[in-house]
Subunit: 327 residues, 2 copies
């Protein structure tokens, strides 16, 4: 393993911890360390052998790290620190603010100066779901693509219900409609709104004196978040909440249905069922870190998205082995 | 559309007809014509505007066809004619004899002389299923991949039952076991043989005087084909057979289940439900013909498999548009 790919993790929330766990499953990648903007002394890594450094320790490591996996958030962290780091290192990140992808791509592409590689928006949506939308459209041009999310925990909606006065704890699960999925799978190409396709299930713990009925009304009528959906609210106690609702499951479906000739329906379905959303996103990031190192070795510099990366670049095996084994 | 990609179809069986239909849905590709080893006068194309030529008419068209889509069979046709044509044209084919893929790849790579592009083994298995096996392995290295085929018509097994004396007509459907699929989806990583995963359903028409019981025994005990499977045989009349069993549906599942950390299961599932196997394979070939033209334009010559092709190359849209629309 003298040719291991040397990886640094920047940021150590759920995603960074997931990358640490995934690297342990990939012997051709080596973790140099976790780099944090917090006081490194306060951070206890999940694996005792993981070294933790302050972010400034990256100075001078440009030749000793092949790829940095950026595990910061898309709202405040990546737009600033992504280009800063891409100006010095090869990077992979999970930037997921859809509307700002073109702008972020341009900033990362410029930061690489044609001398480094940056792979942006890696994960499952954007990421694997984007790839499957593309394959579906390209293969069945006369068709419709439907994305369903869930059953899964929505961070944004969970934050919204926790902000309501009287709510001590809460999570929101997005549930795909079985009826809508069946319609799409049948190839009948229905017209469905996001509302038709999903319901929202809220599980909350009340503060002492919290008014259950008022809180329920505040949730189901909340503009943008809940008012256009069928929403249920279930109140439970703190003990059950801590036991049953601390995981971060997610997943969903991308279904392309179309006609290859009049009367002939074809359906392509891609489905993820994830016990842990951040660990899965981290697993995807690690596979694309391998691809980033290879693009660098080939001199294919600049910013890339997952749509630009050949599948074979994700695997530790050689193209010859992959052809013999997988075709 | 002055920059249409000019495509030729070689061979006009079910697959060639599917390519003809698919090209009509892709306005950036233009069909130059069908080239056949049969007498072109005897061949009536599905679309009246399609021109049909003898195979020798390809001589001198090297600069007027961007990509040839080879629609011959993997057993007798492609091993001989694939390299002959790849020595003169950019090609895409659906070579699917698994054990001979490395040998065929080498022959096609040599035939391109580093001046043309050949994309081999395009379709769904090998093809899209191979790609999904690769993504699954790379993202969840601690996991198992299971492929289920069906519900679908198996050409090889249908041929086998039709060879039994007394059988006037017959088809064999491969049926994936719902129980096995459920086990794999659950993330419990069962050990399953191909037999555990599929049953075989034969539908036959008897010749006058055909001995139903003897034929049934001959089928269910046939070595390699049926003896290791739970096989059912249903006898129907010719009229029902012609009404209900002339289509070529197929499909299947590739499911990767694995752990991203000790207690955390993640499941990736890819599913195809195809009304027409040859039309779908043809649709995939056409998308990769677009990729072949682009590889040629970039000077990425030689043989490639679907594992080597970035998803974005399959789409008529630009990388910018794809990023803005699909990420």
């Amino acid at each position: 393993m003298s040719q291991q790919i040397r990886v640094g993790i920047v940021g150590y929330g759920n995603l960074g911890r997931g990358v640490e766990a995934s690297l342990a499953l990939n012997p051709d990648l080596e973790l140099v360390g976790v780099f944090t903007r917090r006081d490194p002394e306060t951070l206890i890594p999940a694996r005792p052998e993981t070294r933790v450094f302050g972010i400034d320790a990256l100075d001078g490591l440009e030749d000793r790290i092949d790829v940095l996996i950026l595990c910061g958030g898309s709202k405040d962290d990546l737009p600033i620190h992504g280009p800063e780091l891409a100006a010095r290192f090869n990077t992979v990140d999970s930037f997921d603010t859809h509307a700002r992808v073109p702008e972020y791509f341009a900033a990362m592409d410029a930061a690489t100066s044609g001398e480094r590689v940056a792979i942006i928006s890696v994960g499952w949506d954007p990421g694997l779901f984007s790839i499957n939308r593309l394959y579906g459209e390209a293969i069945l041009p006369d068709g419709d693509t439907h994305t369903f999310w869930g059953r899964g925990l929505s961070q944004g909606h969970s934050d919204a219900i926790r902000r309501i006065p009287g709510v001590a704890a809460g999570v929101q699960y997005t549930i795909p409609s079985e009826e809508a999925i069946s319609k799409v799978r049948s190839g009948e190409r229905p017209t469905l709104s996001t509302r038709d396709k999903h319901t929202r299930e809220c599980v909350i713990v009340l503060e002492d004196g919290g008014n259950e009925e008022a809180i329920r009304q505040a949730i189901v009528t909340m503009p943008h978040y809940f008012d256009e959906y069928d929403t249920t609210v279930t109140v439970i106690d703190a003990e059950e909440f801590n036991r049953e609702h601390r995981a971060m499951p997610h997943g969903g479906f991308v279904i392309r249905s179309g006609q290859s000739s009049p009367e002939t329906s074809q359906v392509i379905e891609y489905r993820l069922a994830l016990d842990s959303n951040p660990e899965f996103t981290a697993s995807v990031l690690v596979a694309y870190a391998r691809a980033a190192a290879r693009l660098r070795a080939r001199g294919q510099f600049g910013a890339h998205s997952v749509l630009d990366i050949a599948p074979a670049l994700l695997s530790p095996d050689s193209p010859e082995t992959l052809r013999a084994r997988l075709l």
